[in-house]
């Protein structure tokens, strides 16, 4: 049973004229799975699009930002460092994809584990920041948009970490390699997307 077919819930016996070993059918199945991941990410883009749209509309309607002078936007120092941490994890997962293609199992496991670690550090720092921000969800539209947008993103980071953890586990068991690299490729798409969303969040919520 191929790993690939199970991830996508693919047809057990393969589609027409394909056996599990037929390279053309294999490539087609890989192409379909990655297309599915891309389309899913596209729908996620519209989700964050809606959240950003709500943010900008509420911000434009507000007399000033933050609307109340008692509220202050978080300091840039820590979050800038955290941004670098998350962005570097995009690099490590790209490296892991390369290692999978080179059939280097140790490198792959290291790359994924590093990505997992960087993502986890990002979440911990963000949680620390949430606690020390000095404003909450209930502090008007400022708090509402800040925590909803970063919270949605944090949930996506968490989901990505679970997915990376699963692929890491399979890589450790030797189930991911040159001919079975689709799952690594798929989670890397998702992870790059999550990073891109963060960069946009950082620029709008913290900098702009």
């Amino acid at each position: 049973m191929s790993a690939l077919e199970s991830l996508g819930g693919g047809h057990g016996s393969g589609q027409h004229g394909s056996s599990g070993l037929d390279p053309t059918a294999w490539a087609a199945e890989r192409w379909r799975l990655l297309l599915g991941v891309r389309l899913f990410i596209l729908s996620e883009v519209t989700l964050f699009g809606a959240l950003f749209a709500a943010y900008f509309i509420l911000r434009i309607e507000a007399p000033s930002w933050p609307p109340l002078s008692t509220l202050h936007r978080p300091e840039l120092g820590l979050v800038a460092a955290n941004t670098l941490i998350l962005l570097s994890s995009s690099g490590t997962i790209a490296w892991a994809v390369g290692r999978a293609r080179a059939d280097d199992r140790r490198g792959l496991v290291r790359g994924l584990a590093t990505t997992l670690g960087l993502g986890a550090i990002f979440l911990v720092i963000q949680a620390w920041e949430f606690i020390h921000n000095g404003f909450g969800l209930a502090d008007g539209v400022f708090g509402s948009t800040f925590y909803t947008l970063t919270g949605f993103h944090g949930a996506h980071v968490f989901g990505g970490l679970v997915a990376i953890g699963i692929v890491l586990n399979r890589a450790r068991l030797g189930l991911v390699g040159r001919e079975h690299d689709t799952p690594v490729e798929a989670v890397s798409y998702y992870w790059h997307f999550v990073d891109a969303v963060w960069l946009t969040l950082f620029l709008t919520l913290y900098v702009l």
Partner: protein, 622 residues
């Protein structure tokens, strides 16, 4: 294999899924209990939220939705035999009640679920019409009426969104493109099994005090409404997730699993309609999910997205809501157009008229549907500069819709028409959707819109478009593909009785509503001016004709399943691929991949590869 007692509850299946709801809900309540013990304030809203999430996961675990993925995640070997068993054996009825991956089973699961829901939501409509049969209060107080009205609307929207896409779409798309199944069969089964808990929580909303906002859930009312509102939001978001997953599945299936020779210029028009529809689903659904989540946060967490006291904006909700919900109208209508255009050539024995233009129109409708949402908001107090552009785009969308209409008319024109039951629904569609479309002009024009907003004119208009479009398309499709789905022939007399009762009852009910609306009858209100009494009595009486027609349909289905004549593979002599396999098709659809050599509507030429007499079509009347 006969399962008894405890064994039934430990093997994946419906009994374990029901048990899973209970266990999951209890586990979900644990964090709430811990929070209460820690001295945090707990409300019934928290219980509902966590209980629902836990119950949902418990249900999916119980039905066996996660078995494959968990085994895969842990790196355990997956038994190919077990894999195959998920597909089910032909003729095994229990596969309709299991986590089955066969797209044909899933299609029929969707279809029966949403037809059942059509009956439930229709019953709610009858309760409304009983109350409205005379001015003043009859049998429902205002709150009960509001809840019944809201639930009727919500459930019918769910039917309209899912019955054709989930039902006919799942069954037919892989067959029509010559594939063995969808691209991701397990994801497909997951999409379906997300549906029952979503419907259940919405149906149970009266237990939580109901809700009185209609299906649109506008704040500020929805921020203050009873807990039933939260049940609505939970179900709506769950169905949204299910739709997005299934949209991904459809798009990848059509992109990647077409049989050799099935070029996109040869795709059956129904498949095209689903490509456009699922693209809309993919791009729009997350937006309403975001809006509803903000509403939920406002209610639960004290955020202020739509609460002016905290700087929020209720009109923002309307923008987010209609940015999905107007395209959603085309999620309902376009697959119905597809079904109608699929049926018309078969019964007119002519090629589909202007096929490329019809496809282009679908795509144009899909794009334009994202530019018209604010015509629902002309009186909301939204930015003034939006009025004229939105009016123009709304009227623009009638151009591609008109071309679809002309495609159907051109197909029928000078055809050799068989007035079989599916074709009757095509004619019914042409009449009703025409009325729906023409009356839409008055609602797209800002001046008349301001007068007609929230009146029964609107109620009549959207019933003519959604019932006249989507439900007529659905029944055209059901009667057309009934022999394929069941292997039985639907009795022509019962089918025609159903059509005529429904068609006449529908028009008798909803045509007068235009007049009632112009006279000033308000929608969503349990009462009306006394002088509209006689008109409303007529409307209520007519509504029951629709109900009778649906009973005729139900009896007809049962009769056909029990004792209907066995259907041949291709009783209508149609050319699309699903008719080239047995009725119902074998589990793997096609023994060998079909090789497509011509378009699906080449009527007028003899059937390829056949010689001698072709059997007389069923229901033929020349």
């Amino acid at each position: 294999m006969k399962l008894v007692g405890a064994e039934r509850l430990t093997t994946p299946g419906l009994p374990r899924a029901v048990l899973g709801i209970l266990i999951g809900a209890l586990i979900g309540l644990v964090p709430v209990g811990l929070a209460a013990a820690a001295g945090l304030a707990i409300s019934p809203a928290h219980l509902l939220l966590f209980g629902y999430l836990g119950g949902l996961l418990g249900w999916l675990t119980g039905i066996g939705a996660f078995r494959f993925w968990i085994a895969w995640a842990l790196g355990r070997p997956i038994d190919p035999a077990e894999e195959h068993a998920a597909h089910g054996r032909a003729g095994d009825r229990s596969r309709y009640f299991r986590f089955t991956t066969d797209h044909k089973v899933i299609g029929l699961q969707y279809l029966t679920t949403f037809l059942g829901l059509l009956f439930v939501a229709g019953t709610f409509a009858l309760l409304m019409r009983l109350e409205l049969a005379a001015p003043g209060q009859q049998l429902l107080d205002r709150d009960a009426y509001n809840t019944i009205m809201s639930t009727h609307g919500t459930l019918m929207i769910f039917v309209a969104l899912n019955a054709i896409v989930g039902g006919l779409g799942n069954y037919l798309v892989p067959l029509m493109i010559g594939a063995r199944d969808m691209a991701f069969p397990k994801l497909n089964a997951l999409s379906y099994w997300l549906v029952p808990p979503a419907l259940l929580v919405v149906l149970l909303n009266p237990l939580f005090g109901g809700y009185d906002t209609g299906w649109t859930a506008y704040p500020p009312l929805s921020e203050r409404a009873n807990l039933g509102q939260q049940a609505f939001v939970s179900g709506f978001i769950t169905l949204g997730v299910s739709s997005i997953l299934s949209a991904v599945n459809f798009l990848v299936t059509v992109a990647g699993l077409r049989a050799p020779g099935m070029r996109i210029s040869r795709l059956p028009i129904f498949v095209w309609s689903l490509v456009v529809t699922t693209s809309i689903v993919l791009l729009a659904t997350s937006v309403v999910a975001a809006g509803l989540t903000m509403l939920l946060f406002d209610r639960l967490l004290g955020t202020s997205f739509f609460a002016p006291a905290g700087g929020g904006d209720p009109i923002l909700y309307q923008h987010l809501f209609w940015f999905y919900s107007h395209p959603a109208v085309y999620i309902m209508a376009v697959p119905a157009f597809g079904a109608i255009l699929e049926v018309a050539p078969v019964f007119a024995r002519k090629p589909l008229f202007a096929y490329p233009l019809a496809v282009a129109s679908f795509i144009a409708i899909g794009i334009l549907s994202f530019m018209v949402w604010a015509h629902h908001m002309f009186v909301s107090g939204m930015a003034d500069f939006l009025h004229i552009p939105i009016m123009v785009t709304t009227e623009l969308i009638s151009v591609p819709t008109g071309i679809v209409f002309l495609s159907a008319l051109g197909t029928i024109w000078l055809g050799r028409i068989r007035f079989a039951s599916p074709m009757l629904w095509v004619f019914g569609f042409l009449w009703c959707f025409l009325i729906g479309g023409v009356t839409g002009v008055y609602l797209a024009d800002v001046p008349t819109n301001i007068y007609l907003t929230d009146s029964y004119f609107v109620v009549a208009h959207f019933h003519y478009t959604i019932v006249g479009g989507m439900i007529f398309g659905l029944f055209a499709g059901i009667y057309h593909w009934f022999p394929k789905f069941t292997g039985r022939i639907f009795d022509d007399g019962w089918a025609k009785a159903h059509f005529w009762l429904f068609f006449l009852g529908f028009n008798a009910t909803f045509l007068p509503m235009f007049a009632a609306g112009i006279e000033g009858m308000r929608r969503r209100v349990a009462d009306y001016p006394p002088e509209l009494g006689p008109l409303n009595l007529w409307i209520s009486a007519s509504a029951f004709a629709i109900a009778v027609s649906m009973v005729v349909f139900a009896v007809g289905v049962v009769r056909a399943l029990r004792s209907g004549p066995v259907a041949a593979a291709n009783p209508w002599r149609a050319l699309t691929l699903e008719w080239q396999v047995s009725s119902p098709p074998p589990v793997e659809n096609f023994e060998r991949p079909p090789i497509v050599t011509s378009g699906p509507y080449d009527y007028g030429a003899p059937l390829p590869g056949r010689s001698g007499r072709v059997p007389e079509p069923v229901g033929a009347r020349r």
